[in-house]
Symmetry: C2
Subunit: 342 residues, 2 copies
């Protein structure tokens, strides 16, 4: 009240010492009461006085001070290098957050935009999280993983198309998406498959493995078939140009990056008079609502997350029993939902 000019410095933040002073007890007692410490007996009268004092002052404990003293935090760090696209990831993160909170972890998304990988990892380590779940955007190396574990992280887990040496891995193997689409098309007798490659660099981590999956499926099929990448920006004009030279490509099928790219190409192909699916079969990915609204209805690879154990429980286990062997968990299931477009 009477310490500093309240104008510029603002009302100073109340500490447990302020609560203790107001309640006429020691800081230790304040700590006991507010944390419901059961190993120590405090009279109800004192309890009430402390509680009232804390309420009156608007006291809120200082998380950093607490975890500094405790020597550990319960912070799980999700470094969001970039927003991952699509409802699948959205759902995954929402569920993960909910479940981790239920296990009493504090989930923090740390924006690492504009930092290079080494800087980013250092910045994460400064926060001393108990675990880090790193999406594919930041490439973890064994060295970087080491920085994190040496800073006290009990578990370092990557989330992405492929595992990384030295860290646990939640794998969303995109190859299976491409492979599923390719197997379907091959089974329908298609032999020349184009694979749409989005130019958005943020999607490259997904598009590459999907193409690899297509190529592998073509090779292992034994059929005299081929697959060919087709770069395409998400704009009408490039799509129209691609459609204009479509017949020169000699393709009888195309796997789009997702349903939206499929829609873009389908429109261009139809405007160019290319018959779908007679001349060219089209397969999307994501099984979005819009695919069902297109005519012909879009065949699409449905992706689902399926894990033997919910990811949050997995992370909790890895935190509590560190030092075990690196684990790999495949989360992505893909199957092609056949409709009219191919």
């Amino acid at each position: 009240m009477s310490q500093l000019p309240e104008q510029s410095a603002g009302p100073s933040v109340p500490t447990s010492a302020d609560v203790a002073r107001l309640a006429g007890v020691s800081r230790a007692t304040v700590s006991y009461v507010l944390n419901d410490n059961t190993t120590v007996r405090i009279s109800d009268a004192t309890r009430r006085r402390v509680r009232e004092a804390a309420f009156d002052l608007g006291y809120v404990p200082h998380a950093a001070a607490r975890s500094l003293r405790a020597g550990h935090s319960r912070m799980v760090l999700l470094p969001a290098a970039q927003q991952l696209p699509g409802p699948l990831h959205q759902r995954f993160f929402t569920d993960l957050q909910t479940d981790l909170r239920r296990l009493d972890y504090t989930v923090v998304q740390y924006g690492s935009v504009g930092l290079d990988a080494d800087e980013a990892v250092r910045a994460w380590a400064e926060l001393r999280p108990v675990a880090v779940v790193a999406p594919g955007g930041v490439h973890l190396t064994p060295h970087r993983t080491g920085v994190l574990t040496r800073s006290g992280a009990k578990a370092v887990i990557t989330l992405g198309p492929q595992p990384v040496e030295g860290a646990h891995a939640l794998v969303l193997d995109q190859r299976e998406v491409g492979a599923s689409a390719a197997r379907h098309l091959l089974s329908r007798g298609r032999r020349s498959i184009g694979v749409l490659m989005p130019q958005d660099p943020g999607l490259a981590v997904f598009a590459g493995p999907r193409l690899a999956g297509v190529l592998r499926a073509v090779e292992t099929s034994g059929a005299a078939a081929r697959a060919e990448p087709l770069p395409l920006a998400y704009e009408e004009e490039p799509a129209a140009r691609l459609a204009a030279r479509w017949r020169t490509l000699g393709l009888d099928a195309v796997i789009a990056y997702d349903d939206e790219y499929a829609m873009l190409l389908m429109r261009a192909l139809q405007d160019a008079g290319v018959g779908i699916p007679e001349e060219t079969a089209v397969v999307g990915a994501g099984d979005l609502m819009l695919g069902r609204l297109l005519r012909p209805r879009l065949t699409s690879v449905r992706m689902e997350l399926a894990a033997a154990q919910p990811p949050a429980e997995l992370i909790d286990r890895l935190i509590r029993h560190p030092g075990g062997p690196r684990e790999r968990h495949d989360l992505l299931r893909a199957r092609t939902v056949v409709r009219e477009s191919g």
Copy 2:
């Protein structure tokens, strides 16, 4: 190396004291060197020894300890109650993060799922952020704002459809979206406007104000027109049912929640034989690519973020000059892009 069993406890995290010991200097010197403190002269030899020791140990400073000592942090908290939908928000958050980081703030997204508003605000306050940017999902009250400022936050800023008493506001006034669409339709002679209302509760904060905007535009137009809300779940079946009874509704126009809802309804209407735009005009929102791919091409309300000052700079200013009057900044611009559907 030889201190503790490395098996269970793990290698203990190196502190500045460890660095000091290894370099043969005091902790103070370590701090000076690693922070490039210019007010004090350290010999180059010492500098190098400290740097080497820090590197060898893999030392990373402890952010919590540092800001505890400093008495303040540079953490800007973005409590992500729910992921906000659409590329517009996506872009907004990415830019905000980038810009804040450039101003040397640490951006932390804190997942508050599963907490009620009061718990959530307390949890935020425990982190002692220097500023909080709260999306509309969590309803801030003057009391809750007080908890944050009393915990040391220099700026509390809401981000949502309407401002909140006691906090600064970045306003995305969705009413203008509805109003723009309605004005366009009225100018084209439409007089009975349906307004699609998504059932997803997460979208209610946006849908409500948009409807309000439509109603206001209809009232102020002076025309003998009416507007009517039409609840619709994002599924084919409900859309088909709505389309089946469309002609009984006596509507000559409909404003969809966004382009995807517009596509859903257009397909159902077309399947039911309702002529677009002859019988019913359709207007979407968001001006997504898919609207341009529909036939007829979709008229849509384009939304843009425009601010006199980039939000990050605004936040920085509010942090550095706290105690000023509450500010309100309107960010959303809406205008209708006319295509073929209405």
